[in-house]
Amino acid sequence: MIEIKNLHKSYPIGKDKLHVLKGLNLSIKEGEFVSIMGSSGSGKSTLLNILGLLDEHDEGEYILNGQVIQKLNEKKAAILRNKFLGFVFQSFNLINYKTALENVSLPLYYSGVGRKERQKIAMEYLEKVELGAWANHLPSEMSGGQKQRVAIARALVTQPKVILADEPTGALDSATSSAVMQILKDINKEGMTILVITHEEDIAEQTKRIVRLKDGIIMSDELQLQNA
């Protein structure tokens, strides 16, 4: 599903360059549930941005769902994001003047699904995260856990190939954290490939595979057999 080979990325800082990713190799197959761990500055967010087509890599190869990603223009990137990727952010990133249902149906709007169809599908996914009753509520009327569940429904609604979750529990207390993780585990069971970025050990331990990053290099890559 995801193949990266010798991936490099650096950011210019004044005259100098900050070398963030120093030749990463990683292969994630369909149906995997992977967490990428590392302290801040380890390059994990940069990696996620590149994987999420929000940023471009400098060197190396990135193959997403069999497609080589190279020098994409914004339009192509947008189409690929819409088709293959679902995002879950730490700060939820819901549009605050849209209701839960509208937020969930937004990716379908951009993939050209008709209005009625869109609302029907969005409702299905809201019910899947047990928020059917909250369909017409604005994000400001919901708790953090509810908002993140809306965001997960939104990530799932286009039936993407991969879910990219950037610190999905970072803004949640431990009880809601485990509820959110439970949802992620459930959808993984249904066959969805999930990539979670986190710096919390107990979150990483709930996934099936942990990749540890440090200073732009993969330190370890181990399967969690107890979760398999």
């Binding site: 929000l54 940023d55 914004e74 947008a78 952010f89 990133n93 990716p107």
Partner: protein, 414 residues
């Protein structure tokens, strides 16, 4: 694109983003509205003023010239300079014979006299006139009639009074027809009362008596005060003015180059000045109106830029969810078009209402200051189309800004 325009979601997006910023949207709309409102009202007022001038000039033969005798400034044929030149009744017939293209030629006389009605006494201008004057300078009769041929033939002691003079001589509301006024100890019967709409082209007002009566009473013999000449269609009044003056110099033994011997006043020249002024005003109207419009449109662009800045995070989310740059761009351009359209329509409606109010207050009747202040529909459509085009163009700036921010940076913005 068409599908996009009629898509309910498109409008929902615009509605929600506008609803989010009610005050700012309202202020922006008012800015543009003010521009087109000013344009409509100013154009309407300019048109009303033009109409007003038209109705005034409509009462005058605009291709007319007045000529009178002065003193010579050059010695000629044994005469010293400074000879008083006196126009004669015979000049009229000769000019009529010789100069081509004369439509009317009208001699007039004037003197000042003491006029008495009962105990009211005033000094005013007394004119000796032919009926033709009514044709060249329309006399709006309030009562009675103007001087007629019969008066001329029989040298009748009748007179026609102008309204202002009437007010000084008579009590308010009295019908003067049939009563008598005494001018230089001679009694005249009042046969008509008229109102001057606007005074221009020589002395006016006062009291008119038949030309022949004037000649007899004031011992004028063949003398005339001044000439009024109008040109037929297709003849240049200025050339005619020169021809007549040259001919008159010849008739009166005056040096052919003596420009001062005859004075003249060309009404066409004066009217040209006024219409030139009107044109200038119309230009100014357009200039001010369009400048205000542009300022308003820039305000919209500015507001949208701020909106885009504030919505950076939202735009980032949308792009992460798969919005193509073109989709973001047209959304913002459409917002700009929508705002300018609403503002334009409102401005035109309010402008029209104000013109209606002006029209009903000062636009109708005899003394209207602005006659029928209106704006042509095509003019409105052009202004409106310009506005919407400008709105589209200005929308391009924030739209470009919105898509030039990389989604990752946009997402970082909280």
């Amino acid at each position: 694109m068409i599908k996009f325009l009629f898509d309910r979601d498109t409008w929902q997006e615009i509605y929600s983003s506008i609803r989010k910023n009610k005050l700012r949207t309202a202020i922006t709309i008012i800015g543009v509205m003010w521009g087109i409102f000013l344009l409509v009202v100013l154009l309407g007022a300019a048109r009303g003023m033009g109409n007003k001038f038209d109705t005034i000039f409509g009462n005058f033969a605009t291709n007319s010239v007045f000529i009178w005798g002065q003193r010579t400034s050059m010695p000629f044929m044994g005469f010293q300079e400074g000879k008083q030149v006196q126009l004669k009744r015979s000049d009229v017939d000769k000019i009529k014979e010789e100069v081509k293209g004369i439509e009317y030629i009208l001699p007039r006389n004037i003197t000042n006299a003491l006029v008495v009605n009962d105990i009211k006494t005033i000094t005013t201008g007394i004119f000796g006139d032919y009926p033709l004057l009514d044709l060249l300078q329309k006399k709006h009769m309030v009562f009675g009639r103007f001087i007629n041929e019969n008066d001329i033939i029989h040298k009748k002691k009748v007179c026609v009074i102008e309204n202002d003079t009437y007010k000084q001589l008579f009590d308010k509301g009295v019908n003067p027809i049939g009563s008598h006024v005494i001018i230089n100890d001679i009694s005249y019967q009042v046969v008509g009362l008229y109102k001057d709409k606007m005074r221009m082209g020589g002395p006016q007002g006062g009291i008119h008596i038949p030309f022949t009566t004037f000649q007899q009473v004031y011992n004028q013999a063949d003398n005339i005060g001044w000439l009024m000449v109008t040109a037929s269609e297709g003849f240049e009044i200025r050339q005619m003015e020169e021809d007549i003056k040259l001919m008159l110099r010849n008739l009166h033994d005056i040096h052919p180059n003596d420009e001062r011997a005859f004075g003249s006043f060309n009404l066409g020249d004066q009217i040209e000045k006024v219409t030139g002024f009107l044109k200038g005003m119309q230009f100014l109207t357009w200039f001010v109106g369009i400048a205000t419009l542009i300022a308003g449109v820039f305000a919209i662009g500015n507001i949208l830029l701020i909106t885009v800045k504030e919505r950076t995070n939202e735009i980032g989310i949308r792009r992460a969810l798969g919005a193509k740059p073109a989709e973001i761009r047209r959304q913002i351009i459409l917002e700009s078009i929508f705002l300018t359209t609403i503002a334009g329509v409102l401005g035109i409606i309010f402008g029209g209402l104000i013109l209606m109010v002006i029209n009903s207050l000062v636009g109708q009747g005899e003394d209207a200051t602005l006659v029928n202040p209106t704006v042509d529909i095509p003019v409105i459509l052009i202004a409106f189309a310009t506005l919407v085009t400008l709105g589209t163009l200005i929308g391009l700036i924030p739209a470009q800004r919105a898509v030039s921010i990389r989604p990752i940076e946009a997402l970082r913005e909280e």
